[in-house]
């Protein structure tokens, strides 16, 4: 299996999908540069530059998908989805339902997400909780190259809208563009296992909605995704020193949730810690709590993540985003240790 960066893996899979299926096209701002290899391979018709008109071109993606294409529409950063929200909330995700199941929207929305490099809360949001709040959508958040490739394949093959989120700390070119800018004077806490890894060639589709147990423990079930997953794995290693063996589950998608794996891991451990880089309120962690409660699993429960707007200063940002220290402390508290 070849080794690739997270970013390479995504475009590798997208290139594969475009090669296999002529209906797959991609458009968005700056894509001829951002996806320049795909541009060279597939040309300006299938890799198309868009004006800064997310509302129009995302809704155009909906129309194109309805009329037979499989568009992968890039919204540079997920934060900008706000200017195009109608295309998702009232169009893309409504059409299968409104048409009585007769018409569907095979659309992929691709966007970078996440923080940890000092851009502050208008450019570092995750928003997968918010996005998951509309029926009819899937939101995938890969944490490593193989999943990124596999989930991109599945997203393109999906018959319904999928939001594909690419964390900026994992994608080297985003981090370089936005954070480093070629400087050697800054450094970022990039999880190595997420930013680079082996990818099957051709990539294997990873089914959307299937979580993965990234670590097997049993004393506590730690649920997470994206970059935070790696923080959890690191914390879990340290927790061994306290005699605590942790399950760490990579949810892989914020929506749909893999209820089965969540419930089995939670039921065994009796303690659940959700670690989320997205806002904690009214989002993923709440939904997990409800899924557990509905299933009658009365586990001890805690969550780690931001309640607030992500601040600019790196030091303040570190206090808000989930980190190993806070994950470990929360886990210790859940397990009855003094943190």
């Amino acid at each position: 299996m070849p080794e690739m960066t997270f970013a390479q893996a995504i475009d590798f899979a997208l290139g594969m999908a475009m090669e296999r299926d002529e209906r797959v096209i991609t458009f968005g701002e700056d894509v001829t540069m951002l996806r320049r290899e795909l541009f060279v391979r597939f040309g300006p018709k299938r890799v198309r530059q868009a004006p800064i008109s997310e509302a129009a071109f995302l809704a155009a993606g909906v129309g194109a998908a309805m009329a037979g294409l499989r568009p992968v529409v890039e919204i540079m950063m997920v934060d900008f989805i706000a200017v195009a929200f109608d295309a998702l909330l009232n169009q893309a995700t409504k059409i299968r339902a409104f048409s009585g199941g007769k018409w569907n929207v095979p659309l992929v929305v691709r966007a970078s997400c996440g923080g940890g490099y000092g851009d502050a809360g208008q450019h570092e949001q995750c928003l997968w909780g918010l996005l998951s709040g509309m029926p009819g959508i899937a939101v995938v958040v890969p944490s490593n190259p193989a999943d990124a490739a596999g989930l991109m394949l599945s997203a393109v093959e999906s018959e319904d809208p999928v939001v594909f989120l690419e964390h900026k700390l994992l994608s080297d070119y985003w981090l370089d563009y936005l954070g480093a800018g070629g400087r050697s004077t800054v450094c970022f806490d990039v999880p190595a296992a997420g930013a680079r890894g082996e990818v099957p060639s051709p990539p294997l589709p990873v089914p959307i909605g299937k979580a993965r147990k990234a670590r097997d423990g049993g004393d506590i079930s730690i649920l997470s995704l994206g970059v935070s997953l790696h923080r959890c794995l690191e914390a879990a290693d340290i927790l061994e020193d306290n005699g605590i063996k942790a399950d760490v589950v990579d949810l892989r998608s914020a929506c749909p949730l893999d209820r089965e794996l969540i419930l089995s891991s939670a039921a065994r451990a009796g303690r659940v810690l959700v670690v989320d880089e997205d806002y904690l309120g009214y989002g993923l962690s709440g939904e997990v709590a409800a899924v557990l409660a509905e299933a009658g699993i009365k586990a001890d429960f805690a969550r780690v993540g931001p309640w607030e707007v992500i601040p600019y200063a790196r030091r303040l940002e570190d206090e808000v985003l989930p980190d190993v220290r806070r994950i470990r402390e929360a886990a210790l508290r859940l397990c009855g240790h003094d943190a």
């Binding site: 004006p51 129009a56 909906v62 129309g63 309805m66 009329a67 295309a87 009232n90 409104f98 048409s99």
Partner: protein
């Protein structure tokens, strides 16, 4: 190429009679929610007469006339309005969300959204079916909606085979669009690089000609065009528009609307009443204008187009269309078990 008056008249008559049937079903309480009807048959017929299989339509909240004028099956349409599971959308869409995959036609109740949706249809046409086009219909009020304005640019930049049709009835619900719109819509479209024409939307032959130009450009790969068609608005914003009820049931409505307004006029500080009178006057004027415009029946597009064909043909076409619509309605009512002839 010349328009075929009989064909156009048939499309218009079907659309009109469907609207009337829907109004009747709505009055009888068999259709729920808002119901926006139109007297925009001339615009619908004049444009869709140019469409062929594989062409697409993106529609707004007044979406039945283009669908009917294009020849959609009436039974599933009426069943949909009745919320029946055999309806066009299984009863799940309703009149603001009609989806017909065969006709590549989709409607949406979000003002302005038909523009980018049509652009997306046009993207697909460009890619999959050279020579096929997309049409977006929308009102003049939608022309201030960002995603529509963005679409003007997108369509021009991407040279999309898109025909943008604005049905200018001068009103957005109770707002005179002119009072909240800067500049001029024709110039606006042109300033984005989109060729534009104005047309009397009650004259189906004129609409047909403008659409021939616009659709022709799109088919030839020459990019988007814009048609600004003026239309009357005879039925208020939706059926039962409370403002129009002032005229239909003057006594009851005046009793409802009047006293609170008088209280507002005389509320503290009472000394302000003099300033307030002109404002009351403004509301009264809006109501009057709305009511008066409703009576401009001489501009009825169906009547106007009747003059394009002989009396005999007109009568024959009307009769056929009326019969077809009536049968579909009866059949739909019967299937819905709601007291059609066989209930």
């Amino acid at each position: 190429m010349k328009p075929d008056p009989e064909d156009l008249y048939r499309r218009m008559a079907r659309a009109r009679f469907c609207e009337e049937a829907l109004a009747d079903l709505w009055e009888r309480g068999l259709i729920s929610g808002e119901m926006h009807l139109v007297v925009e048959e001339a615009v619908a017929a004049g444009v869709v007469a140019h469409l062929v299989e594989g062409d697409a339509m993106a529609l707004d909240h007044r979406s039945t006339p283009p669908l009917v004028a294009r020849g959609i099956d009436l039974l599933p349409l009426f069943l949909e309005m009745l919320g029946h599971e055999d309806g066009l959308c299984g009863g799940r869409g309703g009149h603001m969300h009609l989806f017909c995959r065969e006709l590549l036609s989709a409607s949406s109740g979000i003002v302005g959204s038909s523009a980018p949706l049509g652009a997306g249809f046009a993207v697909a046409a460009q890619y999959l079916k050279a020579g096929r086009v997309a049409v977006s219909f929308f009102g003049e009020g939608a022309f201030n909606q960002g995603m529509l304005l963005e679409t003007l640019n997108l369509a021009a930049a991407w040279r999309l085979p898109l025909v943008l049709v604005c049905k200018d009835n001068r009103w957005a619900i109770t707002t005179r669009s002119r009072s909240v719109t800067g500049g001029n819509l024709l110039r606006r479209a042109r300033s984005f690089g989109i060729p534009a024409r104005r047309v009397d939307g009650t004259r189906v032959d004129k609409v047909w000609e403008a659409a021939a130009w616009a659709v022709g450009r799109a088919r030839a790969g020459r990019g988007p065009s814009f048609i600004l068609a003026s239309c009357p608005r005879m039925e208020g914003h939706f059926l039962g528009d409370p403002l129009l009820r002032v005229f239909r049931e003057p006594l009851r409505q005046t009793m409802e609307i009047g006293p609170p307004l008088m209280r507002a006029l005389l509320s503290k500080p009472v000394s302000a009443a003099a300033h307030r009178l002109p404002r009351l006057g403004a509301i009264g004027r809006t109501l009057t204008v709305l009511g008066a415009e409703r009576c401009l029946l001489k501009k009825d597009p169906l009547r106007r187009s009747a003059s394009l064909l002989g009396e005999e043909a007109r009568r024959r076409i009307e009769e056929e269309a009326r019969r077809e619509v009536q049968e579909a309605v009866e059949r739909a009512l019967w299937e819905a078990g709601r007291g059609g002839p066989h209930a």
